[in-house]
Symmetry: C2
Subunit: 194 residues, 2 copies
Amino acid sequence: MNAKTATNERRSARDRLLDAADELFYSEGIQTVGIDRVIERAGVAKASLYDVFGSKEELVRCYLQRRHELRQIRMRERIALHEHPREKILSLFDAFAEYAANPKFSGCAFARAGAEAKPESSVKAAVDESRAWTRALFTQLALDAGAADPNLLGLQLVSLYDGASMSAYIDRNPQAAIVARTTAAVLVDAAVAR
Amino acid sequence: MNAKTATNERRSARDRLLDAADELFYSEGIQTVGIDRVIERAGVAKASLYDVFGSKEELVRCYLQRRHELRQIRMRERIALHEHPREKILSLFDAFAEYAANPKFSGCAFARAGAEAKPESSVKAAVDESRAWTRALFTQLALDAGAADPNLLGLQLVSLYDGASMSAYIDRNPQAAIVARTTAAVLVDAAVAR
DNA sequence: TATAAAACAGACAGGTCTGTCTGCTGATAA
DNA sequence: TTATCAGCAGACAGACCTGTCTGTTTTATA
């Protein structure tokens, strides 16, 4: 038997720190979770954290970057399942509804981080980058769908996404995501000249 | 001349504390602003703060409560200007667009506080109360407007409001509020059987 | 004017936070 | 075998936070 199986292999301090940061920062917020709790959950020495990341801010930035990359993959996979732009758009809301139904769902990591971050910080920059990517994706899909004003429809869809995310989290109302899907269909149909 | 004119009258410690809390908590967030900065801006002794409010949490709760009351007044005044439910609804989005154009606009105070607050705190309860009131208002207007499904339209309008608020703040995009107004019109018209 | 209430300044306690530092351990590779 | 290097434990510094306490001054009212 191999000494290191896939499941019990001891992963690098970096990976364990990112996993712990993801769980704690996402579920409880960045400001409220201290370094000590992250290293405790990761099972990593404090010195290792500062060797690898140099600061808490950089750890936060990397946590957001990894979330963003996973989100990009998730979204691209979803829209690849469909042929027509309208279906692609709605599939993103379906994916979101599934995601928001998870009991661990705690809203949009980027929206929450953006509300906590200082305007000039690298964390805020990471948030901006992710939001810009999402906005561009929706706008492109709106264009593909033949919307009369793709920029408008793109903004509308992003706002729907944001609003549903907030309601699902703060109001603990997972129905908000399903409502958003319904609303998206209305807006797409209204935006496409018929 | 009166020794105390309306402008230079020294207001109570309570009022000055609430003013300072409003400016600082709203613009910078609750967690990042310490008690010392609040009392410094208010020109009030720390002992006075704890005599009046007893804790930071209670100060935060009162700050949110006052915001909520002002918002209720603002919204009621707005919708009173119009006769038809459709116009009442859209006027709320007009008011929001004006509000979001203010350079000091920093998103929805309740959404931000809700993201920072712990689930069982009195602060979270204040947030929930305000959000429930807003949701009820939109749902009632949806009913008055003759929506086929007033609960659905109410949720849709609240989500629009939330989404626009988030985008206007995080993306520094005041246009989001105007987009929300346009979207609201589409949704109302789609929801009302014709 | 006398008295009570409100507000003042600011030191202090006790806790938490980020980040640094020292010295040790165990695995890998030359 | 020996050198290298990632990672370990945990004490420590220094800043900041909430909340308490003492004693003084101002203000309002009877």
